[in-house]
Point group: C2
């Protein structure tokens, strides 16, 4: 049994209550705590030495990634992050200077988005340093963007460039908090997800949650320089990297076709340094397909499964 | 440098914002999300195989402990728990039946207190199974009980019996959610903490946060049967266990002397099966002392320091 099969067994058993608007299966849990206009976004993510970062990774970047992963999930629901807690797992022999630098990375990113770090806890973690971050945010109830709102005919858009994150971006990505807030305020976002498992997997997640299919256009997928580098400039290997590599931490979203032109015109003025690309369309036919020239390929499950 | 010295360096650097009522240093972080009458309680706690439970521990009890530790912290602030997330770390080779039993333990405890488990995330944890739980709760703003409100002359009370938790209670304790809510509704709780590091350490935490001292009466400290068993019926060893053993997960609280008689009368009717004991007094003189017959001993730092 792999991780996904196990989760599929566990999730239906989890107890819920009338405060839960969205539980397992979206980027954040969505909770109604009784605020007049907002829902609360609630997220947890673990970042482990030897799994999510190498032992010799730059400590500030490790801290940046640990908090950034949660921020990216709040961005995916167009929310505002407010407060984080950190569970720090430390080996018996630890280097205090390294831990201070990790926290400097956390704190710098937190300050950039006015996020408080309201403490947490420390425990012994004999084998490796671990950072588990929990994050609280809010989102207006009428503007909470979930994975499940895409409709046939919607355009699919992606920020930034994809693939090859392992060469460095996975430790240095910028969570798309600002972009998501800007989009939410101006456009009718139908569905959104952050790319953590790879475009092909996360596009499938969004499509499945929305009960639609999707067709991506190979020529339009923005391939990063790192993906080209990893692929030794081989075009099909670079495309595969952009489709399947994890940890891009970019946004994938679905927008009605009627807003296509307006978004294309407004984006470069708001974010001149960040690419935005229309990469495909939602379809009534389920499944995920890739159009490459005259051929249409069925895309099967790919991406990142820790227990594959 | 040990864990506490490191934390003392890290905490003053953490960024805060105007939503944070209480950050690091209380049982939960206290956040103002804009609710009319309530504050939000926010907690994270990691539970690791080989650190917080043995590899052969009963799986349901492991799940119970992982969630129960967070519930105990919400109880310590007299709050109502609402929603949990779980970060599950799984070795590459895991036993699905064991994980299902762990979740059965989590879910049973969650249902008992109407707590939702709104998902979380799973990641590879190569060496050991880990469960990090984050919990959201609420507490009325005018009834949030912190560590810092004790005053000289207040009585110090403790629920249950102390010491020897390692013989079993550390996996089977009941978080004192109901008792804390009952106390809050009827009495003027000045300060409260849950006993996770051991009475001597946690009494010191409460006293230091309140800028008072405390005097405990040795004869009144409720020593558990497990503490006696561990001490081979040696009275001073059993007392030391009750003072210094960790993971009792009972409540220690400070109450004005004027409410002493009323509490002593009302408690046994409300909770006939749970002991409540007045164990000492808060004092203007700082420090922690133990009165044993005619002698007064200074208690120095004890309890549980993972990195001592």
């Amino acid at each position: 049994m792999n991780e996904r099969e196990l989760i599929a067994q566990l999730v239906p058993q989890l107890p819920l209550n009338d405060r839960v608007i969205a539980g397992a299966g979206d980027d954040c849990a969505v909770i109604d705590l009784g605020l007049a206009a907002d829902w609360v976004l609630f997220k947890i993510d673990a970042t482990l030495e030897g799994v999510h970062f190498a032992r010799d990774a730059e400590p500030r970047a490790v801290g940046h990634k640990a908090l950034g992963r949660c921020l990216s999930d709040v961005a995916a629901m167009a929310g505002k992050p407010i407060c984080a807690l950190i569970a720090l797992g430390l080996p018996a022999q630890f280097d205090p200077a390294r831990v201070r630098e990790i926290y400097a990375g956390i704190n710098t990113l937190a300050r950039r988005y006015q996020v408080a770090v309201a403490g947490g806890e420390t425990s012994l973690s004999p084998d490796r340093l671990t950072l588990t971050v929990s994050l609280l945010g809010t989102v207006p109830q009428n503007h909470c963007v979930r994975r499940s709102g895409a409709r046939p005919g919607d355009g699919l858009w992606v920020t930034g460039e994809l693939g090859g994150s392992i060469l460095g971006k996975h430790l240095a990505f910028e969570p798309r908090i600002q972009q998501a807030a800007w989009l939410r305020a101006r456009f009718d976002l139908h569905a959104m997800i952050d790319l953590s498992d790879g475009l092909s997997t996360d596009a499938r997640h969004l499509a499945q949650a929305s009960e639609v299919g999707a067709e991506l256009t190979a020529e339009s997928i923005p391939i990063s320089a790192a993906a080209w580098r990893r692929a030794d400039d081989n075009a099909s290997a670079a495309l595969r990297a952009a489709l399947n590599d994890g940890e891009d931490f970019e946004l994938l979203f679905a927008l009605p076709d009627s807003e296509h032109m307006a978004l294309q015109a407004a984006w470069p003025k708001a974010f001149p340094d960040l690419k935005l690309t229309a990469i495909g369309t939602c379809t009534a036919t389920r499944g995920l397909r890739l159009r490459q020239g005259n051929t249409l390929l069925e895309l099967h499950e790919h991406g990142y499964d820790h227990f594959a």
